[in-house]
Symmetry: D2
Subunit: 248 residues, 4 copies
Amino acid sequence: MSRPTTRLCTSTADDVFVRGKSLTRELIGELTFTEAMFFQILGRVPGPAETQMLDACLVTLMEHGLTPTAITARMTYTSAPESMQGAVAAGLASVGSLYVGTMEGCAHLLRRIVRAESPQAEAAAIVAEHREAGARVPGFGHPVHRPDDPRSIKLFELARSLGIAGSHVEAIELLSATIDRESGKHVTINATGAIAAVLSDCDVPAEILRGFALISRCAGLVGHIREEQVEPAMHAMWHGAESAVRHE
Amino acid sequence: MSRPTTRLCTSTADDVFVRGKSLTRELIGELTFTEAMFFQILGRVPGPAETQMLDACLVTLMEHGLTPTAITARMTYTSAPESMQGAVAAGLASVGSLYVGTMEGCAHLLRRIVRAESPQAEAAAIVAEHREAGARVPGFGHPVHRPDDPRSIKLFELARSLGIAGSHVEAIELLSATIDRESGKHVTINATGAIAAVLSDCDVPAEILRGFALISRCAGLVGHIREEQVEPAMHAMWHGAESAVRHE
Amino acid sequence: MSRPTTRLCTSTADDVFVRGKSLTRELIGELTFTEAMFFQILGRVPGPAETQMLDACLVTLMEHGLTPTAITARMTYTSAPESMQGAVAAGLASVGSLYVGTMEGCAHLLRRIVRAESPQAEAAAIVAEHREAGARVPGFGHPVHRPDDPRSIKLFELARSLGIAGSHVEAIELLSATIDRESGKHVTINATGAIAAVLSDCDVPAEILRGFALISRCAGLVGHIREEQVEPAMHAMWHGAESAVRHE
Amino acid sequence: MSRPTTRLCTSTADDVFVRGKSLTRELIGELTFTEAMFFQILGRVPGPAETQMLDACLVTLMEHGLTPTAITARMTYTSAPESMQGAVAAGLASVGSLYVGTMEGCAHLLRRIVRAESPQAEAAAIVAEHREAGARVPGFGHPVHRPDDPRSIKLFELARSLGIAGSHVEAIELLSATIDRESGKHVTINATGAIAAVLSDCDVPAEILRGFALISRCAGLVGHIREEQVEPAMHAMWHGAESAVRHE
């Protein structure tokens, strides 16, 4: 078997090197955590605008209230307080297709539009495919935030003011206009759609987008575990969940 | 049962509020991810020096090479690529007592010293307790980084230059001097010890310290999953692990 | 580094061997799953009485209704249906100190009594230690099943009729009598206490007891996931849990 | 929201009821664990032949040596021994599409053949679809067990002698003959294919098949954790995995 290569980390007695940069001389105290994670994951230090854009996306995804993810982490923590890592892991296990899968799905569609000879025709084809399959276009629609998702508005504003907005933000606007025209009403561009667009314009590949959501939600979950430490809600949530179901 | 309260998140059609602050007007684009996670977890926006200190700690903990945590995440990802969240969760499950438990253990000891009437006597008592139990003092010793851990040196320098270094950094220096005197040689203050000290001086409670390690490692693991996507090492690692064990 | 040995599995083109036995000639169709897991974990095929006893314990632990473990698995499954394994894993993460830790704790105490010169004195010492620490003796007490846990009664009956009941069942009876005398009232021997006793009498080490609980709960969780597939309760439970907490 | 119903468990002070049966009078001591899990998951007590068939499948899937699943569980256990549940959970997270997904995929194909007007034509269509997509037919092929998988042979023998073998075993034989004819050579029916066929003939729905694999692997992992307790291999495996990758 040929030996694969890892380029992430080497160390000596004197230093640690992450992707070839000295941890103590070039990273600690020199990069923010956001810059460092971009470097770790994608192999290049982001520029200031990209960093602000990624910060904005991470802040957007971090906290969503008592979602299944948060409920799960809090219940697991109080059931097994010896293992905070288990509680965070259990919570993250639900950050899957239903919640963040749409981000990747949307990014793939935007890539198709950007690469198409006729973006208009590609957007129309995408809308037709989804209508035929009876499926929502990923990145669009929201049960509460109507007509517009305030987070998307903010992220697009920021992308423009930072000079990040490029072909993928254009593509989502085109896709949005196409959806609105075809459905005869305005459909929300939700936050996962907006994030797919702005991070694609930072050259983040669709395949790893979910990873940034996981990092951000991880921080959100630590906040829930901290709240569970100081004001435990597990037993009330358990009782509430149990009572919501008829037992036969 | 009395109803517990959550203060983390509420939302309206127009906005989302995290701990009472408007997500779109006060958080996205206004706080870095590091500031936002500190606010989410501890309930106050950190000052610039605290933010830089936390950034430095998160950058320090992020990447450690092909550790069990990283190997686990990469093996799980390639076995079940439908679930990146499962791979990250599996990896984080090993961020436990052996690796980051020492951070909490050290922070508890530093708190004892800070609160003691005689810090010197408390430090001596701590060293005696551990010697009697045949246990290493958490936060001290390192298999590779000798005589000193370059990350600890860097973190203490930064803590001093930022004006963060306070009673807990003093406490770990006192504990270190006590250990060296009692053992007759210099024992490394490792990175988890240094982080315990500097984050305690940012008023981060010992009980939630592991949470910051989890967030940081989560970013590190996403980097490993990305590398696994572009240069898969799973089968080589599997073969290497299997061959290292005799089968009877 | 000296090479450690694994004795669990080898294979050839023609067969697979588990702990030296031919999978196709000696295990499949020859052993029940319960016998096979005992053999896999402990290295010997159990006798018929031990098998029935272990079956009884596994059946006892399997299903407990909408506990945090089950709620977690169901929420995770519906959030990320692409990964049934993630849902089971998330559920199992909460099978920790609060729920099954007592089984191990109880088994350790029974071992102390069995090995003591004076079992009576050891039982008294154990009760005194726990009273002093303000802690419940693991394996004793139950919020619903009073004065007796019907599962414990059944398990002890079975242990006697199968000829399994030995020194550890005697030890838990002695411990129970001591607790009742010291507290002036009858305290329930709960199911985890009974299981600790009867499995210790099958020579199952305390250190691996939790493993059997995990296998049994795993089956219980698959039942919850199946029910979630045919009658989804996740959204009702989520709403119930969320509504049970005040949002500020 | 309409209240969903759970039918799995209710309890009183005197007893616990699982799907309406008394735990203490009808389940503990009356059903084996295999019978009880079938009842828990599918709602009916299996007959003796179905029980033996399920036992055989569970025994087949339990142990596969130092696979990524086992390596992961052992590394996680030794990194965080406070949480055996975390180690099992981490291991199970890799029981996904690559390893057991084929069982479900195969069961879906067998269902198509069983329900088709012309099973021959359906089998041919399935083979053509996979050839066109450049994909292996799930349930077929094995890197080591050639020309036949000894586990499959054994499971089919057992299914016949127990009177379980029915339309789905016929369907996999038809599919196998079609594959062999089209590819001009004999392709192995692997163990996941055989299990898909025989459990489908026990009326186990394809959608929950993976659940039985998870239960069985859970037992296998507890065996690995036990071996790790008595003969730790983690550090050797870590070193082996790390050395198998070039570090740049």
